[in-house]
């Protein structure tokens, strides 16, 4: 479904601060594959997602989605095929607009943008059903401004917006990292449910090694802009968090900043 060939991205190119964020990345995801990404800060995880989504223009390499070369497409055009949830709960929704208006914008993703009514009666019913599935009681608050919602409710809403029109690829960039542990777990369970139910091809960045191994079908570890470990199948099933940390130390020659990763 997703194919990345030789993706390279440098920041501050040609200056003393030059930093290689992505170093010739090659990665292929089959349809329905759910990949978790781990790695220390500055490993290039977010840059990878941003280059796939078109937020950053890659310096070299190509990105193919469902056979189509999307490398030259601007962010908004790729977004019609890619769903995204960000770390910042404020980033995925328009706070001064109502829940139903936000959903309507997301629901119109692949439709023509014109002078049709923003929300039709039928759509309103559909939004209510979809919201009910989140189990947060949002189905009774369609007219409420999103600004009134909590961080967890917003992330759940963003997740719904990102997947309501089935994307070919779902990108999750530590989308539970800024939530309290209880809410984070809820949103994560919801994420897993949606991805499994719709068999969505997914890339999820996480700082939590336990999550990385227990969720999804495959785990990749990044360091210094490279993929240094790609776990799937049997090997992944046998892997423990301790193994993973040890593996990282061995391969990268540095100690992983483990406290944050292990503690949560």
């Amino acid at each position: 479904m997703l194919q990345i060939v030789g993706l390279t991205k440098k920041f501050h190119q040609g200056t003393i601060d030059e930093k290689v964020a992505l170093d010739n990345i090659n990665l292929e995801l089959a349809a329905g594959e759910f990949v978790t990404i781990v790695g220390s800060n500055g490993a290039g995880k977010s840059t990878l997602l941003n280059c796939i989504a078109g937020v950053y223009e890659a310096d070299a390499g190509r990105v193919f989605l469902d056979g189509e070369d999307i490398t030259a497409q601007p962010e908004w055009q790729r977004a019609q095929k890619i769903g995204r949830v960000f770390q910042d709960p404020l980033a995925g929704t328009a706070y001064d607009m109502s829940i139903e208006e936000n959903l309507a914008i997301a629901y119109g993703k692949q439709k023509k943008l014109g002078l049709q009514p923003g929300i039709r009666k039928k759509e309103q019913e559909f939004f209510r059903e979809q919201l009910a599935q989140l189990g947060l009681g949002l189905e009774n608050r369609l007219k409420d401004k999103v600004g009134l919602l909590s961080g967890g409710q917003r992330q759940a809403l963003t997740l719904l917006m990102a997947t309501m029109v089935r994307p070919k690829l779902l990108l999750l960039d530590e989308h539970t990292a800024s939530l309290d542990p209880v809410t984070a777990r809820k949103v994560l369970a919801l994420t897993d449910k949606i991805i499994t139910e719709y068999k969505l091809c997914t890339l999820m960045i996480t700082h939590n090694m336990q999550e990385a191994l227990s969720l999804g079908t495959r785990t990749i570890m990044m360091d210094k802009g490279k993929i240094m470990l790609d776990l799937q199948g049997e090997t992944r099933a046998k892997m423990t968090v301790e193994d993973l940390v040890a593996e990282f130390a061995f391969r990268s020659g540095t100690q992983l900043s483990t406290d944050r990763m292990l503690l949560n």
Binding site: G108, L115, P117
Partner: protein
Amino acid sequence: MSFLAVISSIELGLIYAVMALGVFISFRTLNVPDLTVDGSFVLGAAVVAVYCSGGGNPFLALLFAFLAGLVAGSVTSLLNTKLGIQPLLAGILVMLALYSVNLRVMAGKANIHLMDAASIYQLFAGSALGRYNKLVVAAVTTMVVLLCLYLFLQTRLGFALRATGDNEQMVRASGIDTDKMKLIGLALANGLVAAAGGMIAQYQSYTDAGMGLGMVVIGLASVIIGEVVFGTKPLLRRLIAVVLGAVLYRLIIAFALASGMPATDLKLVSAVIVTVAMSTGALKKIFKKLYDIPKIK
């Protein structure tokens, strides 16, 4: 202040309300302070002056003014999105350029009189409405614009436009080209501003190349006064508030003039009104610090 002065202030206020609705689109909906307004207002007035003084239909003239405003707003937006010029500076550049363009439209004359030309305000002249005929025309026109704008903001495109001013990242992530939204928004905003300029030209029967000075501030003042006095929720109420704000602003000005203030001080008054209205948050904090005695628990 005489009754007649009140009536004509309301008439003017209703016409300026069309401009205020334009400023509302750029300033509130898109969240962009657009200074093109000072130029596009005159552009509309200039187009109307030239077309109407040549015997043209006054309604058609307003349509042309609107179209000219669309172009002006588009240029500002393209300078911003395609050439990477800051929105504020892009507006200033187009405003400046329009000063020359407007003079060209007016064939080099600094002002054009429209004493004998037809105007939309003659529509009910001599009817049972008597001296309220202009008021009715202004009110109906403004209400039509208000309603169209409200309905537009309820469409799928309108949603996308509103969201662009709210959270661009989210709009792009929803597969919508934000550059296009800004283009549509600024074009529409300046279209309304230019149409208002044309309506004013017909109302006062002349167009002056310098009549646009400070229009953006007047527009902002109307938006802010309206929101503070008449509320912001829901959207329809907010739009009506902007219209009423424009009328209220005119009444304040008329009152200031009636109480003996020289007309040359009006720009200063406008600037002070906007400054005070926009700094209420900061001023509240300052006053709180100065006068709040710490409470003992």
